[in-house]
């Protein structure tokens, strides 16, 4: 393993690029000092570099040590929020109103999950939830188009294609999103990635069952009592969520400081790689 690979693995669980770059810089400094000390004791350069890396231990253990317990708690809540999300997906075709009602329940759980955290962490969690909900909103929009096309020509080729899209593309999008969340957290052995993978499997199997079984909506008639609330929510909530989601996108693109730090982190990473190739502070 080269020093570059070691540092990348050790910091793979840190989600902030800027922070990960700072930790890599610190660890690289440690390796340099250790290598120098070992060489002064008479060890050969390559051997000293390997020894220095070994003294830091398994880089995956370092990555695990950077996992936040707060993140695990939030993920637990998000997994619970996935259940009403599943209902929302399953009902999209049958009744978009009920689907949005379940979506609201999921959003409320996601927001509740943030209680007890710092304001920054809570906002970040809610925004993540909003982005997840946005995928479902797009799914809902596709379902609406499918329903509209269905009235024009039930059973027609376009309707079938749209139905297929709602039944399979939307769940696939959700699964991809969840998997991306998991893999961006680092190695597959982290609890974050494990939760993501289990949630993804749950969504795939559940959605398949819903699609095949054509859920009997009449069973859920009691939900109709909440119709006035649902109607207000159906109009207001998606607009609010969409506005926030697009607002967030715009804010990200406009936050030049963040983009600059991202560039700095990437150039640091490039420098590490160059140093690796040149054999400066590397194991090669």
């Amino acid at each position: 393993m080269t020093q570059f690979e070691f540092l990348e693995t050790a910091t793979s669980s840190i989600r902030s690029n800027q922070r990960a770059a700072a930790v890599r810089r610190e660890l690289a400094g440690h390796l340099d000092m250790k290598t120098t000390d070992l060489m002064q004791e008479g060890m050969e350069a390559s051997q000293a570099q390997n020894e220095a890396m070994e003294s830091l231990g398994d880089p995956r253990d370092i990555a695990d040590a950077y996992q936040s317990p707060v993140m695990h708690r939030r993920l637990g809540w998000k997994a619970i929020a996935g259940i009403p999300l599943l209902f929302a997906v399953g009902m999209t075709l049958e009744n978009p109103v009920y689907a949005l009602l379940w979506l609201t329940v999921a959003a409320v759980i996601a927001i509740m999950a943030e209680s007890g955290l710092s304001l920054r962490a809570r906002l970040s969690g809610v925004i993540t939830g909003v982005i997840s909900a946005r995928i479902l909103l797009y799914g809902g929009a596709v379902a609406g188009i499918a329903a509209a096309l269905g009235t024009l020509g039930p059973g027609g080729p376009i309707t079938s294609a749209m139905e297929a899209m709602v039944e399979f593309v939307v769940p696939v999008l959700i699964v991809l999103y969840v998997c991306w969340q998991g893999t961006s957290a680092g190695t597959t052995r982290t609890p974050y990635a494990m939760v993501s993978i289990v949630s993804a499997a749950f969504l795939v199997v559940g959605t398949f069952v819903f699609s095949i079984g054509h859920w009997n909506v009449a069973t859920w008639e009691w939900v109709g009592a909440l119709q006035p609330v649902a109607t207000a929510g159906v109009i207001g909530l998606p607009l609010l969520l969409l506005a926030t989601a697009f607002g967030w996108d715009a804010a990200v693109w406009l936050r030049w400081n963040d983009l600059r730090s991202l560039r700095r982190a990437r150039s640091q990473s490039r420098r590490n790689r160059q140093a690796d190739r040149l054999g400066v502070g590397s194991s090669q």
Partner: protein
């Protein structure tokens, strides 16, 4: 009582401001090799203590070397260390006292 590595790191920084590598080597040398802090997990611990406001870090250039992050103890960290030292002394005294006793255990009444 906080973890032993936390106590050792706070104690090391009470003596002088230092970077992670210096902290690890100081603990190892002072304990004559008896205490070897796991170097890899030292940094997550340092960053955790920094988040709690017990220590503060700043980047500095070392002569002829790359940038290093130097940590120093905050007032809050110093107060925490004093409390932990009292707890540790009681704990160590208690363990030593038990270890120095001979004889057999009497049956509980």
């Amino acid at each position: 009582m906080k973890s032993v590595p936390t106590l050792l790191v706070l104690k090391a920084l009470d003596r002088e401001s230092a970077h992670g590598y210096r902290i690890a080597t100081w603990i190892n040398q002072t304990s004559e090799g008896a205490l070897e802090l796991k170097e890899g997990t030292l940094y997550p611990l340092l960053h955790n203590l920094e988040q709690k406001g017990l220590i503060e870090g700043e980047w500095q250039h070392e002569a002829g070397q790359r940038e290093v992050r130097i940590y120093h103890l905050t007032d809050r960290g110093r107060r925490q260390l004093r409390q932990e030292e009292v707890v540790w002394e009681r704990f160590a005294k208690g363990v030593n006292h038990v270890m120095q006793q001979g004889g057999v255990l009497s049956d509980p009444v």
